[in-house]
């Protein structure tokens, strides 16, 4: 064979390879790489593929977290090879993609699944941009509960505290008994999530949304009061060296009897169970003071990029299956999270999961379901809030408090001038 023929063959192989890529499997990108969350997504994909034998979807793990997913998506959009659907956070994380015209409007799908009926109002708020749905909720976790070790509480003669005075008293008692009172973990999220309880206690549900929309400043007496409450209660209770631990390491401290309480998202329940720490028998939960009757939540949704008709059809069929009561249960049970769909039978949850489900249902009726503030704020404000809160929790000095306030307030004003805030 002459050289030119070899080159011709090579070009044909390359061309067929790229054609194969264009017609390749429809992918669902997510970052559930291991453990209970991996089991959850695999169960959901298996369920959806069984429902839709002619529109199969394949899961693909993007190692890392939301930041790595964003980087991968950006590259994929530039190369015009986005996945059929992907795991997305809510609110502002969806909005950036919507603003650039990359996401498919899911209004028709939303109508088919009766989204306005099956999802709580607070959940709907954060997947709709300008009134149109761009995400299908499937993975919800409450972040306003405190886990506690039953054995440690029984030994110390403690009952779950109902207010901040009770929390501080319980911390003092645990510390006197040689147990670290309240676990926390390093990183920009966990101190921030803990702070929501003192914040809501101080500014109320309305004030929480006003901060989210930029109407309530960080230099207001109310916000400072919330910081002071956080400092004099939770920060005072935090375990020694908390900032050098990951959340799983702190969860291990609770399992090993070194730490009495841990305020963490509901996903910690699945971790405890995997570690042989049985719900209700070994650990239980109570709402953080000031959040009784409320549900502050973190949630992921499936977003669908614009694409060829057959890819869109596969993605839409998948998200319809994922929104159904069976699909939501298929994911929630192995993952240990809550199904945002309120028609899901509560009997699928274990005892602690059932408590979370009831909390969400009650809060939903009272219109007190609050999305994670981090995602409601313009990205640069939310991210800086997390960093500054962690710094303040490590060193709750007046100087750090003032720096936190001035840094965030100048960012708020900058974002407002840019018109970056949204009313969710």
């Amino acid at each position: 064979m002459s050289n030119s023929k070899w080159i011709g063959v090579a070009l044909c192989v390359l061309a067929s390879a790229s054609a194969a890529r264009a017609d390749g499997p429809k992918e669902l990108w997510h970052y559930y790489a291991a453990g209970s969350e991996k089991a959850g997504i695999e169960a959901l994909i298996a369920f959806a593929n069984k429902q839709n034998p002619d529109s199969q979807i394949v899961g693909r793990v993007i190692p890392g977290n939301a930041v790595e997913m964003r980087r991968q998506l950006q590259t994929a959009f530039m190369g015009n090879t986005p996945p059929a659907a992907y795991q997305s956070s809510m609110a502002f994380k969806l909005k950036t993609f919507v603003d650039s015209g990359k996401l498919h409007d899911l209004s028709e799908t939303w109508a088919k699944i009766k989204g306005d009926e099956i999802f709580p109002e607070g959940v709907q708020r954060v997947v709709k941009i300008d009134g149109k749905p761009y995400g299908i909720p499937y993975d919800l976790s409450l972040i306003n509960n405190i886990f506690y070790s039953k054995a440690i509480f029984e030994k110390a003669g403690l009952e779950p505290p109902k207010d901040y005075d009770g929390l501080v008293a319980a911390c003092d008692k645990l510390r006197a008994a040689g147990v670290e009172p309240l676990g926390n973990a390093g990183g920009p999220f966990w101190s921030l999530y803990n702070f929501y309880a003192p914040l809501v206690s101080t500014v109320g549900t309305e004030g929480y949304y006003k901060i989210a929309s930029g109407e309530l400043g960080f230099d207001t007496p109310d916000f400072r009061k919330a910081l002071d409450l956080y400092r004099s209660t939770m920060v005072k209770c935090y375990a020694k060296n908390w900032s050098g631990k990951t959340w799983t390491q702190t969860a291990d401290d609770v399992v090993n009897g070194n730490t009495g309480m841990f305020m963490m998202g509901a996903w910690a329940a699945a971790y405890f169970k995997q570690a042989g720490f049985a719900p209700v028998e070994k650990f239980d939960v109570f709402p953080a003071p000031g959040t009784e009757g409320k549900a502050i939540f973190q949630m992921d949704a499936f977003a669908v990029p614009e694409g060829p008709a057959d890819t869109l059809e596969t993605a839409e069929r998948f998200v319809i299956s994922a929104a159904s009561a069976e699909g939501q249960a298929a994911f929630a049970v192995p993952k240990g999270s809550l199904a945002p769909n309120v028609t899901v039978d509560p009997s699928i949850y274990d005892a602690v999961g059932a408590k979370f489900a009831k909390q969400l249902a009650d809060a939903s009726k009272a219109n007190a379901v609050l999305p994670n503030l981090f995602f409601l704020l313009p990205t640069k404000v939310g991210t800086e809030l997390g960093v500054q809160l962690e710094k303040f929790a490590i060193d709750p000095s007046d100087a750090n408090e003032s720096e936190l306030i001035s840094t965030l307030e100048s960012l708020r004003q900058e974002a407002q001038a840019e018109g970056a805030y949204l009313k969710w």
Binding site: S100, S243, T379, E390, K391
Partner: protein, 304 residues
């Protein structure tokens, strides 16, 4: 046939042949090095979230904003600390280990593998291992210190803003010393035996032998190790990002992690590009004179 050979010889000696052979590397260099730099500089003059169809031109605003941010200077200072550490720490220890092993210790082959092994582990795995080692209550390091009665020295390794950089450097030392060791060890083994023997005969002590004979002859190896250390300090990213994400509260942040966070955590691609342009300029200012000087000394020593 003779004509064909003539044409072939002419072709081989002509400039066209050189140009053809050069075209591939030059194209690759232009496409994968020059173009991205120009493109990054262009992006740094815009405000862009990475998705919107039209980036907004903002001139030098991104550069000016960075110059007013303490966060930027903090990351730059961290890079400089890393530069000093990488030039002295792993390099010094690698040289020491190579010199010790070069004296003909028993089990040399085993030690050679043991010293080099950490360098073969990917950064993310190193980070996972050391995250576990540095757990402040039950981690290996704290446990060992406590078991030998030095519990008072145990720290909140990755959670204390004043400690975290030293902790990261400790893990880097473990990870990268193997490279310096291997280069120095190969260098020592390449030193002509006659030089060592001659010095011995002249009555040189082992100390004099090393500093007056071996070390000067190790200069090419030293250039490689120091040059790589300086480059590593400027492009440092993986170990910091995988262990702390630049935290707590920016304490361990370097320019590369700040650039990544600004681009993909805050969707400010223009400002992130400005950080990378600063990083390129700073790296150039720091590294180029140093490499130039070292290269000059090599030329001088070769001339001698």
């Amino acid at each position: 046939m003779p004509n064909f050979q003539l044409v072939r010889r002419k072709f081989q000696t002509s400039g066209i042949t050189h140009a053809i052979f050069l075209s591939l590397p030059v194209t690759l260099f232009a496409v994968f090095y020059i173009y991205p730099i120009i493109s990054t500089f262009n992006l740094s003059l815009h405000s862009w979230d990475g998705f919107s169809p039209t980036p907004r031109f903002v001139g030098l605003q991104n550069y000016i904003v960075l110059l007013h941010q303490p966060r930027f200077y903090h990351a730059l200072l961290n890079n400089i600390s890393w530069l000093i550490f990488l030039l002295l720490g792993p390099t010094g220890l690698g040289l020491l280990l190579a010199a010790l092993l070069d004296r003909g210790m028993r089990g040399e082959a085993v030690f050679r593998v043991v010293f080099f092994l950490p360098f073969t582990i990917p950064a993310v795995a190193v980070a996972a291992i050391w995250r576990w080692m540095y757990e402040p209550t039950n981690g290996l390091l704290t446990t060992i210190l406590q078991s030998i009665g030095l519990g008072g020295l145990a720290q909140n390794w990755l959670g204390d803003p004043s400690i975290v950089n030293f902790a990261l450097m400790g893990s880097m030392m473990w990870w990268t010393t193997g490279f310096a060791f291997l280069v120095f060890f190969a260098g020592l083994r390449n030193i002509p035996v006659e030089c060592i023997e001659a010095a011995r005969i002249e009555g040189a002590t082992p100390w004099q032998l090393f500093w007056k004979v071996s070390f000067p002859l190790l200069w090419p190896s030293t250039i490689v190790v120091l040059g790589m250390a300086a480059v590593d300090a400027m492009r440092l990213f993986d170990i910091v990002w995988a262990m702390t994400n630049g935290g707590p509260a920016y304490a361990s942040e370097v320019l590369a992690t700040q650039m990544y966070d600004t681009a993909f955590g805050r969707f400010e691609m223009g400002r992130a590009s400005a950080i990378s342009v600063y990083l390129l300029v700073i790296a150039g200012v720091i590294i180029m004179p140093y490499i130039y000087q070292l290269a000059k000394r090599v030329q001088d020593s070769e001339a001698e």
